[in-house]
Symmetry: C2
Subunit: 359 residues, 2 copies
Amino acid sequence: MFRGGVLEQPVIAYECWGTLNAARDNAIAIFTGLSPSAHAASSPEDPRPGWWESMIGDGRPLDTSRFFVVCINSLGSPYGSSGPACEDPATGQPYGITFPEIAVEDIAAAGRAALRSLGIERLAAVVGPSLGGMVVLAYCAQFPGEVENLVSISGAAHATPFAIALRSLQREMVRGDPSWRGGNYQPGRGPRLGMRLARKLGTITYRSPKEWDQRFGRRRVPEIAGLSGDFRPRFEVESYLEHQALRFADAFDANAYLYLSRAMDQFDLVDHGGGSLADAFARFGVRRSLVLGVETDMLFPIAQQQEIADHLRAAGGRVEFHAFSSLQGHDAFLTDLMRFEPAIGGFVKGIEGRAPTAG
Amino acid sequence: MFRGGVLEQPVIAYECWGTLNAARDNAIAIFTGLSPSAHAASSPEDPRPGWWESMIGDGRPLDTSRFFVVCINSLGSPYGSSGPACEDPATGQPYGITFPEIAVEDIAAAGRAALRSLGIERLAAVVGPSLGGMVVLAYCAQFPGEVENLVSISGAAHATPFAIALRSLQREMVRGDPSWRGGNYQPGRGPRLGMRLARKLGTITYRSPKEWDQRFGRRRVPEIAGLSGDFRPRFEVESYLEHQALRFADAFDANAYLYLSRAMDQFDLVDHGGGSLADAFARFGVRRSLVLGVETDMLFPIAQQQEIADHLRAAGGRVEFHAFSSLQGHDAFLTDLMRFEPAIGGFVKGIEGRAPTAG
């Protein structure tokens, strides 16, 4: 592992759409944000809509009539890949916090191993939003020359102290819940309150104040008893947060959350350039890049997207950069598809002709 | 009380500096943010520096050679005024959450009662930052014609849904701590973890990401063991939050915090204008106003300061408005005194001549 420790026989979950061609040079890999699974789109095996359903398919921005699209479930995530909730073969118990520390670099390396198991040695493109945006930078830095086209979406070459402060606090909410039990809870009986609180803070920072002015304003929930000692939600925005938080707390393993959250704080691309960010980007060997960011994003602010674009340009590749004025903040890539789909679709169309898929 | 309930024999703590003149028309009242006490400046009785030490005194912006300055401890605050930590004379136990709901309007009315007990019926000026900025608006709306000059600092006519979401989450952190015990903890044995977490979130939102880029960057604390399962702070910004949070959790009563935090969410000046904000401001009868705000403030954003200034101007008073580019966000009035002192001092100098103090 990048920060020490060894993981025996890691498993990486992935889903794929489209067909790998004979030259094995038409693959596009997607690395995800902190919480999604590899189920980015529906498929015959799993017809449920994915988290980027309209982005992937025949004639869609990630066009499966030309490309073989693979979405990687991050190492550490509880949706099929090895992580703290898995059983440690040495003990027969869940790893919990004995799982080795996960770095963004490990997520990239584990994804690459999964791609190699499919016979893919070079990628037509990598695509990564949020945490995935950090992972794709780590991928290009660790495996120079293996990526032809890069799509960085609301990512970062390193976290800001503001983002670190927020994530550190989220982790403390989880750890402060007595049900966390120092990380040794039984699967399914973890720190649900801590996870609910952490996700509420996440949701607050994933969107934007402007969006909420329009969406909720000061609208109230139907009047409750209104006793002085009653602190239940009175505003719609509070009910919305509760709904989002419950969904997450019921689905996501707490230790996995702690590990992936910390990985985002620790990541610094400068580590791959001997202390120079320019040198780190110079390693990439990427031909074309698309950098997308959102002006209302407080977690991965637009200045960080500009920084990525500037360094990629200085490193010699062709770079297309869009600063979208979406209201939805960091989450805009999931919701403001009117802006994101044409940008990504246009960029992918511009990838030079591949041999027809082997069918 | 504004939202129902009755409080028997409330006590309001205050501190004062300077001398009330014979006409009793040279008083300036300060209402505070959520956490400070009435100890805004040192005095012979209490020589410790106050939270606005350099703002108050002979020749200082709030000039005690001309004015009698009174700082009011908010109703509900644990620093001397009646609040949930006080003993309920009916039971001999702390009120806890049986204390009637506190509205911003009650804080204004309780402050006015304290001023009346000093023989003050009209104010040369009211000054209020943050929560105090809400209180001064409620004061002018409830007691029209009693305030001659208004200083609104990073205040609001109503909270945004973003600010509501943050405060609602902070209250949930406190209530979620098992030591809160439904509000029935013994004084001094309250929900310290919940208060620490809530204050960390407060500190994050009181400052600005830009300030922290400069102040902390990605500087690390001295290396700790670095075990995988060790989630202790690794960055300086995390240590800073911990320090701030401990100070607050040791000093502030949790139920008082819940009550004052909720009061900020519930406040809406429009309630005093029959649904029209313009009508609410039209009641004030204030002659001159100074409205100060900070562009990096995320809790009381600059657009809300502009809104206050616009309405005051429309209501017919003379209005001076400054949008400061301070890096310190909402807390700038406590730290960026190079900007705030000249603005406040200049405005106070412009208050028309008062009779010399009675000495």
